[in-house]
Chain length 116, copies 2
C-alpha cells in the first residue's frame, strides 16, 4: 500500500529555537519494536533542535539538504552538508542548528539500544 | 562524530534495468541488529529495482524526490511522488520503476521482522 507521510510542526523542539517540521515515514508500531521514530526532519531557517540526551537508544542524523551545525557530545560544533551522517553513541547528547536563510533537511531514525 | 555516507552504484539491481545509486547512511553493524540496510536510494532515469520478496524483514520506501511507479505485492501499479510512503508486509513482494527523465530518490530501510 501507498500512503502519505504524517507531518507535524513543532516550535522550540527540545528547547531549541524556531520551527521544525517532522514528516513521519512510519508510526512507532510499524517499526516493530526496533525504533521509536523514523522521519524526514526539516529545520527551518534560524531554527534548531536543542541539546538532548539519548538514553537506551541512539539517533543518527543523515543530512540531505541545506547546511547546518551539529553539536556533538563533547560540545564540538561541526558544519554539516548533504551526504554527511551525524552519529552519537547510546547515552550521548547532541543538538543541531540551522543558522542559514534556507531550510535544512535530514533523515532521523531513533534506534533502540538492545541488539537482537 | 560526523562522517560521509557510503555511495555504491549498482546496475540491474534485483534484475531491474539501468542504474541505482545507494547512499548508505549506516553500516549493518551500526543498525544494532534491528535492520540490515538504511540508505538514500537514487533510481536514475528509466531505471528500476526489480520485483523481489522480503522474507523475515520488510522494506518501506519513502519517496523524497521525483516521480516513480511502485508495483505492490498484488501487482497493482501506483504512481508515487514526494511525501508518499510505500509499505509492504513481511513476506510480500515489491518493485519500483522510474520511467521519467529525472532522478527519483527515496529513503529505504530494511527492518527485521521480529519484535522486541
Amino acid at each position: 500500500m501507498v500512503r502519505k507521510e504524517r507531518v507535524v510542526t513543532v516550535e522550540g523542539l527540545r528547547d531549541g529555537k524556531g520551527t521544525v517540521e517532522i514528516h513521519h515515514f512510519l508510526e512507532k508500531e510499524e517499526l516493530l519494536g526496533h525504533a521509536t521514530m523514523y522521519a524526514r526532519v526539516i529545520v527551518k531557517p534560524h531554527s534548531s533542535i536543542g541539546w538532548h540526551q539519548h538514553v537506551g537508544n541512539t539517533e543518527p542524523y543523515a543530512i540531505i539538504k541545506g547546511e547546518g551545525t551539529f553539536i556533538d557530545n563533547d560540545g564540538s560544533k561541526i558544519a554539516v552538508h548533504p551526504g554527511d551522517v551525524c552519529l552519537i553513541e547510546v547515552g550521548q547528547y547532541h543538538s543541531i542548528e540551522n543558522n542559514t536563510d534556507e531550510d535544512m533537511e535530514m533523515i532521523a531514525l531513533i534506534i533502540n539500544e538492545e541488539a537482537k
